[in-house]
């Protein structure tokens, strides 16, 4: 242990002067670090999105809702497509009937 008394330590501490020297590239390095942190934060958006989904979709009600929603959308699309197909079929049947009684259309 140090044998010098507390007075001597106080004197030394009082006499001690710190003169920090700022390196020339200090400003540049600081801005570089800030830019790097911001980049990391932007990159972290995707994990946050997946985290949001994973926390929401593990709930049974939300998962069931998503399934029902996609089912409704697909049935709606099928309804529209089927209506169009039925109209086409109906027209084709009309043509088929006309061709069955019109000899001029039979050979076509």
């Amino acid at each position: 242990m140090n044998n010098s008394g507390p007075d001597e330590l106080s004197v030394k501490l009082r006499a001690w002067q710190v003169s920090p020297r700022v390196p020339a590239s200090f400003h540049h390095e600081v801005w570089q670090r800030i830019a790097a942190r911001q980049g990391e934060r932007e990159l972290a958006v995707w994990p946050r999105v997946t985290e949001w989904f994973s926390t929401r979709f593990v709930r049974p009600q939300v998962a069931l809702g998503a399934v029902l929603l996609s089912l409704s959308i697909s049935i709606g699309a099928a309804h529209l497509q089927a209506r169009q197909a039925r109209t086409q079929h109906w027209k084709a049947l009309e043509n088929k009937y006309a061709a069955s009684i019109d000899p001029r259309l039979m050979g076509r």
């Binding site: 998962a63 699309a77 099928a78 079929h89 049947l93 001029r104 259309l105």
Partner: protein, 158 residues
């Protein structure tokens, strides 16, 4: 994350299955009418709201008309073939070609007359409104809709 993936897969599978099932069921009647023979008569029955008795009478008319229709179809084919043969064989408009053209026109006219008679007979078996609609639909085809006065005659000539 696995749960999210499973939910997404379930949503897609249910959506595809729902689409396929609904589409198949909704288009089944018309698809089956189109694919089976005599589907056009079923179409006529639905389109013109025919009752059983009406449908039976119209089917009878159709059966009676069918052989005459087939004969006319064959005659039209023969007349057209004869005209084509003569056109290929001659380098100028000959009396034979003229006769063949007349024959084609005569066969076509005869065919139209028979068809119109049949159409009016079928229309008469239907309810008045449906009968009128049926005759209009068929005559629009018989008169060749693309060759009406409006489309053929130029504006200055009208």
């Amino acid at each position: 994350m696995i749960k999210v993936l499973l939910t997404a897969i379930a949503a897609v599978v249910f959506a595809l299955a729902g689409y396929w099932t609904y589409y198949r069921c909704a288009t089944m009647p018309t698809r089956s009418m189109l694919s089976r023979s005599g589907g056009e008569m079923e179409w006529l029955r639905h389109e013109y709201h025919l009752g059983d008795a009406q449908f039976i009478r119209i089917q009878k008319l159709h059966r009676e008309y069918a052989p005459a229709c087939d004969r006319m179809c064959a005659r039209i084919g023969e007349a057209n073939e004869k005209l084509n043969r003569l056109i290929k064989a001659n380098r100028s408009f000959t009396p034979e070609i003229e006769a063949a053209v007349d024959e084609c026109v005569e066969v076509q006219a005869e065919c139209r007359r028979a068809l119109l008679r049949h159409v009016y007979a079928v229309g008469a078996e239907m309810a008045p409104e449906d009968g009128t609609r049926y005759v209009q639909m068929m005559t629009a085809r018989i008169v060749e809709p693309r060759l009406t006065y409006e489309t053929v005659i130029s504006e200055p000539a009208k």
